[in-house]
């Protein structure tokens, strides 16, 4: 008899399905039910670049402690895809469970001795029950949810209620779904009772949290920040942000007479998308585009124009696996350098690194203030993991007293009062000049915007000193940016330590769990979560104050490390990279083993003694 994992409110379930088989909504139901029982759940869709037929996975991380990143490993595999069977079975933790469709007998070689196998003849039951092939497929999904709910002690009323919400207004579908759900439950009660040692227990750890995708949250942030023009070209994993913006605008920005307080253009390509954003922002609105790596590549020339001509623009880069088309439906943090240095010449740009949908909302709104204040492109560096998965996060919040920071814009009154207007004149010593909007004043304040070198009054100039003067001011402006950006988040280890870890973005949840695991193993790390570029002194000081820094990133080339070294204020030998880049979201286990192994190399002596 294999060992049996016995766990309550702390395990990982992985559903292996075929894309387009209707499994997604059933799997979502499963995760949602747990949340309704007050148990925090992190769920992730791992899907192919395909509409139908290729393998897809849905991972449900159950954690009463609230660790909603990926842990690593699988405690219960729901293996519904013959194509990926072998690897799926292999990935189960020893003592874990394999739930499968036992309608067709499989040879013993297809199983493992150290796992618990739970077979249910799903196809057989469905074929008996239904004659329509589509129904057979769809109800099979809800049926396994029924069986699992029985085996894992998920309250059936909760699922029934969710099914009711799902099919609200489509009553014809409601009854058969509930029926299929109960067929699954009844079968499991009769034939599989007690087969699985993983259990749900109602608790109260969800509170008033919400479930939202990062892209939807970012879109809401744009709505709340007063963005009115959006231009985009469809690309995974960013499209759902533009679509969500459209949806929310349709709800909250349509006047009584049906006219729109927004304009969305699905452009002919990403060059046009960023061009539209720049034209709109030049003319005084808040505008954005949402894209992914290939789009960023296409936008390069325009980004340089916005930087040099000093035009606000907000760019959401929902990162995916690169280079080239790379892994279009997988996640990475691999556009850090191409965004930080986007375009030719000496350019550098402000980047924000949201860690979860709540920050997508917050940073989206912030990005528009920053773009207007700094008159430059601002990148919000989300990724597929955050953007396209539903995360359980704190409710979104907005302060009604908050005013948009539209930055330094000279008005008709300012010009009328005789204020000296030089478009590139650094009046306040912060490197940020004033701008005027087209149409402001009949005789004052007009200027010619260009990507060519110009003097402080926007007059064309090829003189060296004039050019240098402008480039130096742009540097000063970049320095000013530091004082406006979200500060890094520091956490001190429970014991004093000479070691630190730095991370950012979607690595955060897995990192939080990993730090706890490392602590148990006697490895104590102070941590710093970087939330923006350019880097503030606190980040540099953190690195200087530690002997070694583990820098965890989801790319191959340690891109954030490169940016840190580029400050010229960091010792390269201090930084030890832990890099995850296979396209799946990083796991706590990966981080723990990565840091532990390197720690061994650095300090072959037992750590407990070293640290004390």
């Amino acid at each position: 008899m294999p060992a049996r994992l016995e766990r309550t409110n702390d395990f990982v379930v992985l559903f292996a399905n075929v894309n387009g088989s209707g499994s997604a909504s059933a799997n979502r139901l499963f995760g949602r039910a747990m949340i309704r029982m007050g148990v925090p759940v992190g769920s992730r869709n791992i899907f192919p670049s395909n509409i139908q037929g290729l393998p897809t996975w849905y991972e449900v991380r159950v954690s009463e402690a609230g660790h909603l990143g990926r842990r690593g490993g699988v405690d219960l595999m729901v293996a519904m895809n013959p194509q990926t069977w072998d690897n799926d079975v292999k990935s189960i933790d020893s003592g874990g469970y394999l739930f499968y469709d036992s309608s067709k007998p499989l040879p013993p070689s297809k199983f493992r001795d150290d796992i618990n196998v739970v077979g249910m003849p799903l196809t057989e039951i469905c074929n008996k029950q239904y004659s329509d092939p589509r129904q057979r497929q769809l109800f099979k999904n809800i049926m396994y949810v029924g069986a699992l709910s029985q085996l894992l002690d998920i309250e059936p009323e909760v699922i029934e209620k969710l099914i009711g919400e799902l099919y609200q207004g489509k009553e014809k579908l409601l009854a058969p779904n509930v029926e299929a759900f109960h067929i699954g439950r009844d079968y499991a009660r009769k034939h599989l009772n007690g087969a699985i040692g993983l259990k749900l227990r109602r608790c109260d750890r969800v509170g008033n949290k919400i479930l939202i995708e990062g892209n939807a949250a970012a879109a809401l942030g744009a709505v709340y920040a007063g963005a009115t023009v959006a231009a985009w070209y469809p690309i995974t994993p960013s499209s759902s942000m533009a679509e969500a913006f459209q949806r929310y605008c349709q709800r909250y920005r349509v006047d009584q007479d049906g006219t729109h307080r927004f304009a969305i253009i699905q452009a002919e390509d990403e060059l046009a998308a960023i061009g539209i954003v720049i034209g709109a922002a030049w003319n005084g609105v808040r505008a954005f585009t949402a894209t992914a790596g290939p789009g960023i590549s296409l936008m390069q020339e325009f980004i340089g124009l916005a930087h040099f001509a000093e035009i606000p623009a907000v760019i959401f880069d929902v990162q995916r696996g690169g280079p080239s088309t790379g892994m279009p439906t997988r996640t990475q943090q691999s556009d850090i350098l191409s965004c930080a240095y986007a375009s030719h010449g000496d350019t550098r740009h402000v980047l924000l690194f949201p860690a979860e949908p709540g920050e997508c909302f917050e940073f989206a709104a912030k990005a528009f203030d920053l773009a207007d204040r700094l008159q430059t492109p601002i990148f919000v560096m989300s990724d597929l993991d955050i953007g396209m998965n539903e995360w359980l996060v704190e409710p979104l919040a907005w302060d009604d007293k908050r005013k948009y920071d539209r930055g330094k814009v000279m008005t008709f009154e300012d010009l009328e009062a005789g204020k000296d207007f030089g478009r590139y004149l650094d009046v306040d010593g912060d490197g940020i000049p004033y701008r005027t909007l087209p149409g402001t004043h009949p005789t004052k304040g007009s200027f010619f915007t260009r990507g060519t070198s110009r003097d402080r009054y926007a007059r064309y100039s090829e003189e060296g000193p004039v050019y240098v003067d402008n480039m130096e001011r742009l540097l000063k402006k970049f320095d000013t940016a530091k004082s406006l950006l979200p500060a890094p988040v520091r956490r001190n280890a429970r014991e004093a330590t000479r070691f630190g870890a730095i991370y950012y973005g979607s690595t955060t949840t897995a990192m939080d769990e990993a730090i706890g695991m490392l602590e148990v193993n006697g490895i104590h790390l102070d941590t710093l979560r970087v939330r923006a570029y350019p880097f503030v002194d606190e980040i540099i000081d953190f690195i200087r104050a530690h002997e070694r820094i583990f820098l965890v990133e989801q790319n191959r080339d340690a891109q954030l490390k490169t940016l840190l070294l580029d400050t010229g204020r960091v010792d390269a030998n201090k930084i030890v990279s832990v890099l995850h880049y296979d396209g799946t979201p990083v796991t706590a286990h990966f981080i723990v083993s990565g840091i532990s192994r390197r720690m061994q190399e650095i300090m072959p002596v037992p750590l407990r003694r070293v640290a004390s």
Binding site: I210, A263, A397, G439, S446, F447
Partner: protein
């Protein structure tokens, strides 16, 4: 020198328009183009048209790409905001600007390299979206600024200054504009200021995507024998289909037009286009017929000029998108932010 200051010599007798502005008030910086460049004549026509239309210069936005032609917005309408963007991408910047403020007049200036070569895609898409603008291509068949390479509008068989012959088929921007749904299409010649000024005035009054292909010889690189965009060649082959008189209100039509040879087109904004027909069988409100006529005559080597197509009741981009009448750039927190109460409701839906 960084900046050439233009002497502000206002002759007291200079004529003033209804706004009290003189011609000078519509000028810009001193041109840095080659003496005799066709583009400077187009700038002069633009100045003349805006002056005659009594337009407040600051309510006009000038946008361009990159090239000698695209530099010209610096040389007219000095009181207007201008935007010299990137090569071939002016149309998208124009589109965005237009969305942000539907109340300004938008003038797009581009070259044949800018619009037919690198920017053909954006050229086509901004016309099909119906951006309310005047889009002028200062068409010389070459890249002036990079010293005379063929552009995509160079005719097959046309000779470069160095003697090379272009073997590729030309892109006819007028034909493209017809196919992309531009609601105002014209062709003119920088050497025919009278025709050009009237066309620009009509195009500005037009509330939709107005396109003018203006042949504008490059004296430095494409004005030699063997070129089909030289002053001499264009003068010889210019076939105007009509002669336009732009009218802000209905006026008595001049008596020298024989019956049946003139037409009066009322534009959406109440202005009138008085068209004297020069080609009897040309109807500029018939998109298909006009296109067929153009193709026939172009095949015969004629450069057909005049008002080639006009849709008297055009529909523009912001109307199609149902954008609110108040320019978007005048909306603030009150109009745009749904507020915390709504956010609380959204949160509730997400539990």
């Amino acid at each position: 020198m960084t900046y050439i200051v233009k002497p502000k010599l206002h002759h007291p007798k200079l004529p003033h328009n209804k706004l009290g502005f003189t011609h000078r008030d519509y000028e810009g910086k001193v041109s840095t183009l080659c003496a005799g460049c066709g583009h400077d004549s187009i700038s002069a026509a633009l100045i003349q048209a805006c002056f005659e239309l009594d337009l407040p210069p600051h309510r006009i936005a000038k946008l361009s790409g990159i090239g000698c032609s695209s530099k010209t917005p610096d040389y007219f309408l000095g009181q207007s905001h201008g935007f010299n963007s990137v090569h071939g991408r002016m149309p998208s910047v124009m589109t965005g600007a237009n969305l942000a403020n539907r109340d300004l007049i938008y003038l797009g200036v581009s070259g044949d390299g800018d619009s037919a070569s690198i920017g053909l895609g954006q050229f086509a898409h901004c016309l099909r979206r119906g951006v309310n603008m005047v889009y002028i291509v200062e068409n010389n068949g070459v890249y002036g600024l990079t010293k005379g390479q063929f552009s995509a509008t160079a005719d097959k068989g046309s000779k470069s200054k160095r003697g090379a012959s272009n073997q590729d088929s030309p892109i006819d921007l007028v034909g493209m504009a017809f196919l992309m749904g531009a609601s105002f299409v014209a062709r003119s010649f920088s050497g025919d200021k009278k025709q050009l000024v009237e066309l620009i005035k009509a195009a500005i009054a037009h509330r939709g995507a107005a396109f003018i292909d203006c042949i504008s010889p490059c004296v430095a690189f494409n004005n030699h024998p063997g070129s089909t965009k030289s002053f001499d060649y264009v003068r010889e082959h210019n076939e105007a289909v009509n002669s336009l008189e732009f009218m802000e209100a209905k006026q008595e039509i001049k008596a020298d037009y024989a019956p049946g040879t003139s037409a009066l087109v009322r534009q959406h904004d109440g202005t009138f286009l008085n068209l004297k027909k020069l080609a009897a069988d040309y109807d500029p409100t018939d998109r298909n017929g006009a296109l067929a006529f153009l193709q026939r005559h172009q095949a015969a080597g004629e450069i057909v000029t005049g008002l080639l197509f006009v849709e008297p009741e055009p529909e523009d981009m912001v109307a199609r998108l149902n954008v609110t009448k108040t320019p978007l750039n005048r909306l603030g927190e009150a109009e745009l932010c749904p507020g915390s109460a709504i956010l609380e409701k959204i949160n509730a839906e997400l539990r």
